[in-house]
């Protein structure tokens, strides 16, 4: 096993007297990392448990020997040589890799959603875990949004709110009982919901009809103001479908300019609301 001390010994032979003198006049007892760095401006520096070496201040022959005798040896023994920031991020990711129950969740979706959605879901589960442990998730969320600009942000948010643990599984249970069910149809429905945010409202047992009418009216007002296309209302289970029907009646009574398109089954419904002429 390579250690910082064993690498230091090799460096002593490569760099020479000046480096040996530097090491002997400094406390190297706790050194655990050797960092190529220009911080501080010196050729060598010891900070905390780092030995910092500025490679641009070494001769070409010394750099060649470092590459051949140290770096190649590390790589051959399956050590990863990484940027400092990547090490920290990778360590945080490692600590928050999906648990066995999350792995079962990914397994559940692996044959039901597209490969891109499953990959984004895996990353989002890690983001969710990191957030719950108080770790900064900014870089990870940005990476998800960058890789999947159409749905990344929404999928990540929905994962953090446990929609993939609950709602989308229930949706599958519900849809799979329908006569004309297909995995493709389920996939399409999930994608419609994910990409429909923020203009989507979920109707569940939480909140009264009045609460939901207020929520929907407020989102509709925003839609109208910004000229955006549509609002989706989504409900699962018969009682919530009936609740949604009641909500839609009140919405329509309050504003007849709204067009409502229904995709309705006994135990699920998606209503698409649009303003006439938009």
């Amino acid at each position: 096993m390579t250690t910082a001390r064993s690498i230091l010994e090799k460096l002593k032979n490569i760099i020479g007297v000046e480096f040996r003198d530097f090491l002997s006049s400094n406390d190297i007892g706790d050194i655990s990392l050797i960092k190529f760095s220009k911080a501080g401006g010196d050729t060598y520096n010891i900070t905390n448990n780092y030995l910092m070496i500025n490679p641009s201040r070494l001769g070409q022959e010394q750099r060649n020997q470092i590459k051949q005798q140290i770096i190649d040896a590390e790589l051959n023994e399956d050590y990863a040589i990484l940027k400092d920031e990547s090490i920290e991020r990778m360590s945080n990711i490692k600590k928050n890799i999906p648990s066995s129950s999350d792995e079962k969740l990914l397994d559940f979706y692996s044959d039901k959603l597209s490969a891109d959605y499953v990959k984004a879901l895996e990353a989002s589960l890690i983001v969710r875990n990191m957030a719950r442990h108080g770790i900064d998730i900014g870089f990870a969320k940005k990476d998800i949004m960058r890789k999947y600009p159409v749905f990344g942000r929404n999928l990540c948010n929905l994962t953090s709110e446990d929609y993939f643990h609950g709602h989308f599984k229930e949706l599958y249970e519900s849809m799979s009982k329908e006569d004309d069910f297909s995995i493709k149809a389920y996939q399409k429905q999930v994608e419609k919901i994910v990409t429909g945010l923020p203009y989507i409202v979920f109707v569940s047992s939480i909140g009264t009809v009045r609460d939901k009418v207020i929520e929907i009216s407020s989102k509709l007002a925003r839609l109208k103001k910004y000229g955006a296309g549509k609002l989706l209302i989504h409900a699962l289970r018969r009682d919530n479908v009936e609740k949604t029907e009641e909500i839609l009646k009140k919405i329509k009574d309050a504003d007849s300019s709204i067009e409502i398109e229904l995709d309705k089954k006994t135990s699920r419904m998606t209503a698409t609301l649009r303003f006439k002429g938009v």
């Binding site: 390579t2 250690t3 910082a4 690498i7 655990s32 990392l33 050797i34 960092k35 190529f36 760095s37 220009k38 911080a39 500025n54 490679p55 641009s56 750099r63 470092i66 590459k67 140290i70 770096i71 590390e74 790589l75 051959n76 023994e77 399956d78 050590y79 990863a80 040589i81 990484l82 940027k83 400092d84 920031e85 990547s86 090490i87 991020r89 990778m90 990711i93 490692k94 890799i97 990959k119 895996e122 990353a123 890690i126 870089f139 990870a140 990476d143 998800i144 960058r146 890789k147």
Partner: protein, 79 residues
């Protein structure tokens, strides 16, 4: 796969790349020093901008990116 006790920071990227016989072209991509028209690829066949370069692992000196998805794959391999 294990983490080496050798790391590098942002400021020394060009020097570390030079150790591997690579440099950075005028569009910011990592290229072969001997042939600047040849861009270095990840094992998935992606070109690498120096700003998104995360390090090197075994496998004919496989260059890895520093984005979350690349780090997830590395984390899974890490002992």
């Amino acid at each position: 796969m294990k983490k080496s006790c050798i790391v590098f920071d942002e400021a020394t990227k060009a020097d570390v790349l030079d150790l591997f016989g690579k440099s950075i072209d005028n569009e910011g991509f990592i290229v072969e020093k001997e042939d600047a028209s040849q861009r270095v690829l990840t094992k998935d066949g992606e070109e690498i901008l120096s700003e998104e370069w995360g390090g090197v692992i075994k496998g004919s000196e496989a260059f890895v990116k520093s984005d979350t998805f690349s780090l997830i794959e590395l984390a899974k391999k890490l002992e």
